[in-house]
């Protein structure tokens, strides 16, 4: 009967799908094993999840090393360099988040099995997102990564703040999806296809019914602006970040945000590359607003997690800058695309590192106030140095990785060379200085303020957190000193023709 309906079984390349299959299998194992394990053995689940991610990562690297590419289901699902680099990023980020949360979840008396299951689900969505080149696939991947995240944000069930974090994140996330879907439906109606490549062909050059496409692009961009917490669609982010458990916050601010950007990169650079006149100015305004507002509000924060929340909003602004300047010529499309991807990779390392330090310090101080970091240097010099490295990297001081992220963005701006691009470059430079105020003020408190309660007992850092810190600082310093490491990642801009 299926054959009669003209249905062909799609030709799947299971080798290319290995990372997805491994993650899916792991999450099934975790879900089932959780039913049979008693409470004393729940720690096994985090080990199983971790190994699952490492195996998936192995396949990703193996595919990348062999240069294995595949295009499936008529081009709706593509495995190429870009997809593999981002899959690798998501898997590593997932692994670090597991390291960060192992003790947190164990000691906090949370529901362990479900926690790991949901993290893996969300990661599966992200891994799928890296390869999604079709509106339906993108939508499904986006929901797969978002739905578990809504629940994770409310993981401290009896904490009102955590409830509130979950509710705000959920409502605005769903609203964003609805807006984005409306945009997608208009674009589908215009182009008659859900494949990004076909949409790209249909929207190229001069077109009839241009307003339909414009409105469609606008709605899609607004939907993703919510996801990546760009100003003026950012107001859920600080509350959610503050209320959610800190490892989840780290996960949301890095992985979930990167997921949004990956979708945006694919939609804009494949689907709407011919309509830069529409999205160019839009992203210009979004980027300028996001950087400026994020940084200015971050200045007056007294809670470290909220400060990092606003800092991550501002960082999203820098990632949006290349979008705004991409449209002017072919060279700038290339360098803008690379700049966004490179920024995402570096941002993940430094932001995760900063959150890991926050978790480590909170184990002792049980507080999120910046003041509670006072005199940290006196009893935890190692953590202080690491936090300083992460903060200065976020601020973009060489020779740390963050400086390269900003340099790539400036190169995109200068490659574009239009006066509006240069203006945005100046806004970005001014913002880099504003950002320094609050990053340096946290460093100041750690190094120079007295210990608030006079308690100088050293902090015991569990091995998992040490591993997370070691990994992140290694990336930040190694890439800072030797950015050619990126050359080994293949041509991430393979997606742009």
């Amino acid at each position: 009967m299926l054959a009669a309906a003209g249905f062909h079984v799609p030709n799947l390349d299971y080798h290319a799908l290995a990372p997805e299959i491994v993650v899916a299998a792991t999450l099934a194992v975790v879900l089932v094993a959780d039913l049979f394990l008693d409470d004393d053995n729940k720690w096994l689940l985090s080990n199983v999840s971790g190994w699952g991610l490492l195996v998936a990562l192995f396949f990703t690297i193996e595919l990348g090393a062999r240069g294995h590419t595949a295009s499936m289901v008529g081009g709706a699902y593509v495995v190429d360099d870009f997809a593999l680099v981002l899959k690798g990023l998501f898997l590593v980020v997932g692994y670090i988040v597991l390291l960060m949360s192992a003790n947190y979840v164990e000691e906090g008396d949370y529901y362990e099995g479900e926690f790991y299951f949901l993290i893996l689900c969300s990661l599966l969505g992200m891994v799928v997102m890296s390869s999604a080149r079709d509106l339906i696939t993108i939508f499904v991947a986006l929901e797969t990564l978002s739905l578990p995240a809504y629940m994770l944000a409310g993981w401290r069930k009896r904490d009102l703040r955590s409830n509130e974090a979950s509710l705000k994140y959920y409502l605005l996330g769903v609203l964003a999806s609805a807006v984005m879907l409306y945009g997608m439906s208009l674009v589908f109606g215009f182009s008659g296809s859900t494949l990004l490549v076909d949409i790209g062909k249909a929207t190229q050059g001069t077109i009839t019914h241009a307003p339909l496409v414009t409105v469609g692009i606008f709605f899609i961009a607004v939907g993703f602006a919510f996801k990546v917490s760009a100003v003026p669609f950012h107001f859920w982010a600080p509350d959610t970040y503050e209320g959610a458990p800190t490892p989840v916050t780290a996960f949301l601010s890095v992985a979930s945000k990167t997921g949004g950007f990956v979708a945006l990169l694919q939609i804009i650079y494949i689907g709407f590359i011919g309509r830069s006149d529409v999205w160019g100015p839009m992203f210009w305004a979004l980027a300028a607003l996001t950087m400026t507002v994020g940084n200015l509000i971050a200045l007056r924060q007294t809670n470290i997690v909220r400060l990092l929340a606003y800092s991550s909003i501002a960082q999203a602004g820098y990632i949006l800058v290349p979008f705004a300047v991409a449209g002017s010529n072919t060279k700038s499309i290339h360098s803008a695309f690379t700049a966004s991807v490179v920024y995402l990779l570096i941002y993940a390392a430094m932001n995760l590192g900063a959150f890991t330090v926050v978790i480590a310090v909170a184990r002792k101080t049980r507080s999120g106030d910046i003041a509670s970091f006072g005199g940290l240097y006196e009893y935890a010099p190692g953590l202080t140095v690491l936090m300083t490295v992460f903060l200065f990297s976020l601020a973009g001081i060489p020779p740390l990785a963050g400086a390269w992220a900003k340099i790539f963005v400036f190169r995109a701006v200068l490659d574009s060379g239009t006066s509006s691009a240069v203006a945005l470059g100046i806004v970005a430079a001014v913002n880099a200085v504003i950002a320094l105020f609050y990053y340096a003020s946290v460093a100041r408190v750690m190094w120079m303020s007295p210990v608030p309660d006079g308690d100088r007992t050293p902090i015991r850092i569990p091995a998992t957190l040490q591993a997370a810190l070691g990994l992140t600082v290694l990336v930040v310093v190694a890439i800072g000193i030797y950015p050619q490491l990126f050359a080994h990642l293949g041509d991430v801009a393979s997606l742009v023709r």
């Binding site: 240097y377 200065f392 001081i397 060489p398 020779p399 340099i407 400036f410 190169r411 200068l414 490659d415 060379g417 470059g425 100046i426 430079a429 001014v430 880099a432 200085v433 320094l436 105020f437 340096a440 003020s441 100041r444 190094w447 120079m448 030797y482 950015p483 050619q484 050359a487």
Partner: protein, 507 residues
């Protein structure tokens, strides 16, 4: 010349020293100082070796070492030294052991010493780098230890001062980074190859007039904050006053020179035409700085703040000499950098000693110290007179050359600046009079005399102050070819010629 990479060693050695210091256990603070002194003296010996091996009479870069660092961005570990940077390197290498030996941290010696050594590596890196990216990296590295030194070991208002210092200089750095990137990418757009190499960029001048002007502005603002030039100087008095003694010595002696050196190496060298066009503006700011610094210094009640403002005036002279764009002016500017490092560094150390003894820096609380501590007073007098610019001491040579150099090309600026020399004599001598003359009372009666150890630290600096004042020829000979080449390059690009007097002086 030997194959030994002297310049790389100059930067790496203090960095290794810092790592060593960090590795020493907290329970053995006494070893820390020994290690730090040993490392910084070793750096000094290396620098002197460089001075000895330096080929006098050549203009180009010597001891060049070059290794590719990041290939696809055209960035390399490119170090070199010429007549302009030679003496600044030696000065830096001299002042660090001087500051380390001359004052002690009051707590957490280990971290303090480690930061000092990192600072030394950064400063030497700035003076030696011939690659714009490398230069920027060292420029930024310098900020971080200085921030922590001021904020961690300074006086009452230290945290505010540290943040102010940091924000000011970072603002400049951000602009400079944009300038560097714009310069490099515009160059790449014209020539097709991406490079951060200073010499290549200078040789293939690939930007039009107005672009060059913007690029120069981006660099100039950053340098001007560091120098500091008049309207951007407000961080300096705070930072100087609140910094620990060794911090002030290094800040005045070395860090301020990063800015003036930047003007010579990256302003004049990369943008000769624009430097010539904008010289009147910078000369004016320099003169304003001289007069303003002197007047404000005269009304200070805090001795350390007074010396801080005197720095603003002295640095004004250096800017004046640099933008006179004559061989004498630039030479005078460089030698004035060295002089200012020596005399102001020594002054800050002496004020630090007064503070340790009396726990005050208020001029009004001091008086009659000459009666109880004549040797101390004598040393202070000598250093102060060098700062005033008394003939026979080093300060005179620099100021004289600057004024001659400026008079040749820009007469009226030189005339106004000359009044600054008189003002300097007024405020410094007046301060000396109030602190050392008169009848000692109360606490001042018990003011201890200069100790042998302190004398031993100060002696080499005093010797240099006299030596450079009496016989500056060896120094001038070594810097002359590089300076002449630089000035001629500016003249050629700007299409002007030096007045015949300036040429006649040396041919």
């Amino acid at each position: 010349m030997l194959g030994f990479p002297v310049l790389t060693a100059l930067i790496v050695l203090p960095a290794i020293g810092a790592a060593l210091v960090v590795a020493i256990p907290r329970t053995r603070p006494e070893i820390v100082k020994v290690v730090a002194l040993a490392v910084s003296v070793a750096v000094l010996v290396l620098a002197c070796y460089g001075l000895y091996e330096f080929a006098t009479g050549t203009a180009g870069f010597q001891f060049v070492s070059r290794h590719v660092w990041i290939k696809q961005w055209g960035i390399s570990w490119h170090l070199g030294i010429d007549g302009i940077s030679l003496f600044l390197v030696v000065l830096t290498a001299l002042l660090f052991p001087f500051a380390l030996a001359g004052s002690d941290a009051h707590h957490d010696v280990k971290a303090y010493t480690a930061w000092m050594l990192v600072l030394e590596a950064g400063c030497l890196g700035v003076f030696l780098a011939l690659d714009l990216f490398l230069f920027f990296v060292f420029w930024e590295i310098v900020l971080v230890p200085m921030y922590f030194l001021i904020g961690g070991w300074g006086y009452e208002g230290r945290v505010y001062a540290a943040l102010k210092f940091f924000i000011y200089t970072m603002t400049g750095s951000a602009l400079m980074l944009v300038g560097i990137l714009a310069l490099v990418f515009i160059h790449a757009g014209h020539t097709g190859h991406l490079t951060f190499d200073l010499q290549t960029l200078a040789r293939e001048q690939s930007f039009s007039g107005s672009t060059a002007r913007w690029l120069f502005a981006a660099f100039a603002v950053s340098f001007a904050i560091k120098v500091p030039i008049f309207p951007l100087h407000t961080w300096l008095p705070d930072a100087h006053t609140e910094a620990p003694t060794a911090g002030s010595v290094i800040l005045a002696g070395v860090l301020l020179k990063l800015g003036t050196y930047g003007f010579l190496r990256f302003g004049l060298y990369l943008f000769p035409k624009v430097s010539h066009d904008l010289a009147p503006l910078l000369l004016t700011l320099g003169v304003v700085g001289i007069i303003y610094g002197a007047i404000v210094a005269a009304v200070q009640r805090d001795l350390k703040r007074l010396i801080a403002y005197s720095s603003v005036a002295h640095l004004g002279f250096i800017i004046l000499g640099t933008f006179a764009l004559t061989t004498q002016g630039v030479q005078g500017g460089i030698i004035q950098m060295v002089n200012h490092g020596l005399s102001t560094g020594a002054l800050f150390l002496l004020v630090g000693m007064i503070y340790e003894r009396r726990h005050t820096r208020e001029i009004a609380d001091l008086g009659g110290l000459q009666k109880v501590a004549p040797v101390f007073a004598g040393v202070f007098m000598l250093v102060m007179l060098s700062s005033v610019g008394l003939p026979g001491l080093n300060g005179f040579v620099g100021e004289f050359l600057v004024l001659i150099g400026t008079f040749i090309s820009r007469r009226w600026w030189a005339v106004v600046a000359a009044t600054g020399v008189i003002l300097a004599a007024v405020y410094l001598l007046w301060a000396y009079q109030r602190v050392f003359h008169g009848v000692p009372e109360g606490e001042n009666l018990k003011f201890p005399e200069l100790r042998w150890r302190e004398g031993a630290v100060l002696a080499p600096v005093l010797a240099l102050i006299v030596f450079l004042g009496v016989y500056p020829k060896p120094v001038l000979d070594r810097m002359e070819p590089s300076v002449r080449t630089l000035v001629e390059r500016v003249d050629r690009q700007a299409g002007t010629h030096q007045p015949s007097v300036a040429q006649g002086g040396h041919r």
